[in-house]
């Protein structure tokens, strides 16, 4: 866009960035999310111990100077596991959502743009997929795929999530398709893919981006739930969900808060910050909101 120099007004993205920066919670969210991401990437440098090494001297040990957040029921350092678990949660969230946003956007754009029979068939498939109870399907699929693993969770979430996005994109595309700027693009001879990529999707993506952030938060929650039930990420690989498994015991719940409060808190923080960022993005990507 800089080709239209001399530049007097800022580009769309720099305006969006400025609008985003005015959204205080979103800035807090993106900073916190950045810190989580750094934590996940630099886990080996930050963690005081290996997340899988067992300290035979302390089981379910209280927080101490050696183990800042105590140890779990087999003697592993809780703080180290907490840091490493960020890798699991963030990769589940990001990969699963990327996967279903890509599928959902393509399907939704095709259904909305071509309409008619194509739309009818695709919409019924979406309806059928949306009527499945997701957690049951995931439990079933994870067990059918063989032993539960991180990748199974990502793939199942990715394959199940797309109809919601597809519906969103379909509705947006259908509304935009009759706008005069889309007719104008067709009148100047733009091809179907060009119309969709240049004119329809950029205008349809704001709600998708918002849905994707909420979806990321949701994927993190689902992963935690699955791991908590023992169908997700398997120990000894740490995940915030499987760390909470210990809290199934009443003794732990009542007397050893260091085992379940930190992972619970991390889930809360990550989901909350991602939602703040989604809110900020929604406002930032609306070009009619002036500074």
């Amino acid at each position: 866009m800089s080709e239209w120099a001399p530049s007097r007004t800022a580009s769309f993205w720099s305006l969006a960035f400025r609008r985003f920066m005015r959204h205080r919670l979103a800035v807090v969210g993106i900073v916190a999310l950045g810190m989580l991401a750094i934590m996940a990437l630099a886990a080996p440098l930050l963690a005081p111990h290996s997340p899988t090494t067992i300290d035979p001297t302390t089981f379910q040990g209280r927080p101490s100077s050696v183990h800042l957040l105590g140890t779990d029921s087999v003697g592993r350092d809780v703080l180290s596991r907490l840091i490493y678990a960020a890798r699991v949660s963030l990769s589940v969230g990001i990969l699963a959502v990327t996967m279903y946003v890509l599928i959902g956007t393509s399907v939704g754009a095709i259904a909305g743009y071509y309409g008619g029979t194509v739309d009818l068939v695709l919409s019924r498939i979406m309806d059928i997929m949306l009527s499945f109870p997701p957690l049951i399907i995931i439990l079933f699929a994870v067990s059918v795929f063989g032993r539960p693993s991180l990748w199974n969770v990502i793939i199942v979430l990715g394959l199940l999530g797309w109809p919601a996005v597809a519906r969103l994109v379909r509705g947006q595309v259908m509304a935009l398709r009759h706008q005069e700027f889309v007719q104008a693009a067709r009148a100047i001879g733009a091809s179907d893919p060009a119309v969709v990529m240049r004119h329809l999707l950029p205008n349809a993506m704001a709600p998708v981006l918002v849905a994707a952030t909420f979806g990321t938060a949701n994927a993190i929650l689902v992963e935690a739930a699955l791991s908590f039930l023992g169908m997700g990420v398997q120990p000894p690989t740490p995940s915030w969900g499987n760390m909470l498994t210990d809290a199934q015991s009443l003794t732990v719940l009542e007397q050893m808060p260091w085992l379940w409060v930190p992972p619970g808190f991390m889930i809360l923080i990550s989901v909350l910050t991602i939602n703040f960022v989604g809110d900020g993005l929604r406002d930032a990507l609306d070009p009619s909101l002036k500074l």
Partner: protein, 343 residues
């Protein structure tokens, strides 16, 4: 305005029909009827002239324009542009043909992509048709913006930074980018303030002179049409009822509907009085149009045969076509004939 009375026909539309199906049922849909938006419309436009297409809301004028450009597929009929049928073109041929035919839209707000800069909007046709790239494109876009009365530095702004009139100029610049021969103006000024309307109309006239453009000018405002058109076609409920030179339609309207339409044009003189013709009833539904003459349900002169026979288009006086056999203005018509006879 163009002078080429004798010049050749650039676009001829023959028996154009566009029906929108009305379907029933959820999964197994069946057609239960059709909205006959455009029903057997024929007209032609000569090179360099402006044909005004007027009629009230919902009469099918916009649909006619969109179908000619194949933004909608026609149900039947043909549109011949410079000897080639637009409706039988294949995808790639149609894409190339689009360089000749362009459109200016009614709504200056929804006709520009809010996510693109003005430069990208005006430059897009250049890219699609490989007319200019890189520095050439930038130069051409700046040139186009100047032609429509904007500044070259407006190129890097977004549409929401402009007023309605300016946005309409951007839409005109986009249409001009491919050097078209014919532009369909779909009510290009009806969304603008009156003062801005005049500016945009004058711009369109200047551009026509400068680039030898031909316009199909769709409007519902007869005073706008009077200003810009060479000939006028009046549409009612999917059909053209009268076509004639612009002076003729104001001096000598032949169809009862045209007469009623004209009586609704405000006179800019508070002292003047004129008889307003108020048509009884509403426009019938285009999904179930009246038999015979479509206007008979509201016509002040209708006779029995109007309910049965569909009136054909008849040339009543030197290029003045009208679809009304009752001839309520027979006396005027003979007067017209006298006036038209060369001395």
């Amino acid at each position: 305005m163009a002078t080429g009375k004798a010049s050749e026909i650039i676009l001829e539309v023959r028996n154009l029909r566009k029906y929108f199906p009305i379907t029933k049922g959820f999964i197994f849909q069946k057609q239960v009827g059709a909205v006959k938006a455009v029903d057997d419309v024929s007209f032609f436009i000569r090179t360099g002239e402006t044909l005004g297409l007027v009629g009230e809301s919902g009469c099918g004028k916009t649909t006619t324009g969109r179908v000619i450009l194949r933004l909608m597929e026609p149900t039947a009929g043909d549109a011949v542009f410079e000897g080639r049928s637009i409706f039988s073109l294949h995808k790639e041929e149609l894409r190339l043909m689009r360089r000749n035919l362009q459109i200016i839209f009614q709504d200056p707000y929804s006709s520009l992509n809010p996510r693109m800069t003005v430069g990208d909007i005006v430059g897009e046709p250049l890219e699609i048709h490989n007319l200019a790239r890189g520095k050439d494109k930038v130069r051409r876009v700046q040139e186009l913006l100047e032609v429509v009365g904007l500044s070259p530095y407006h190129a890097n702004r977004y549409p929401h930074e402009f007023s309605g009139g300016q946005r309409q100029r951007i839409g005109i610049a986009r249409a001009l980018a491919v050097n078209p021969k014919l532009i369909i103006c779909d009510e290009p000024v009806s969304a603008l303030d009156v003062s801005i309307q005049a500016q945009v109309l004058n711009l369109l006239e200047d551009l026509q002179k400068e680039f030898g453009l031909t316009y199909l000018f769709i409007a519902h405002d007869l005073s706008v049409v009077k200003h810009i058109s060479d000939r006028v076609a009046v549409m009612y409920l999917g059909k053209i009822v009268e076509v004639c030179p612009v002076e003729e339609i104001f001096a000598n309207p032949q169809h009862p509907y045209t007469e009623a339409l004209l009586s609704a044009v405000p006179i800019p003189d508070p002292g003047m009085r004129r008889e307003r013709i108020i048509l009884p009833g509403d426009v019938p539904s285009p999904s179930n149009p009246p038999k015979g003459c479509r206007f008979h349900t509201r016509c002040l002169y209708a006779v029995e045969s109007c309910r049965v026979n569909e009136p054909p288009m008849v040339d009543v006086a030197d290029g003045h076509y009208v679809a009304c056999p009752v001839q309520p203005f027979k006396h005027q018509r003979s007067k017209a004939a006298v006036l038209k006879t060369p001395a």
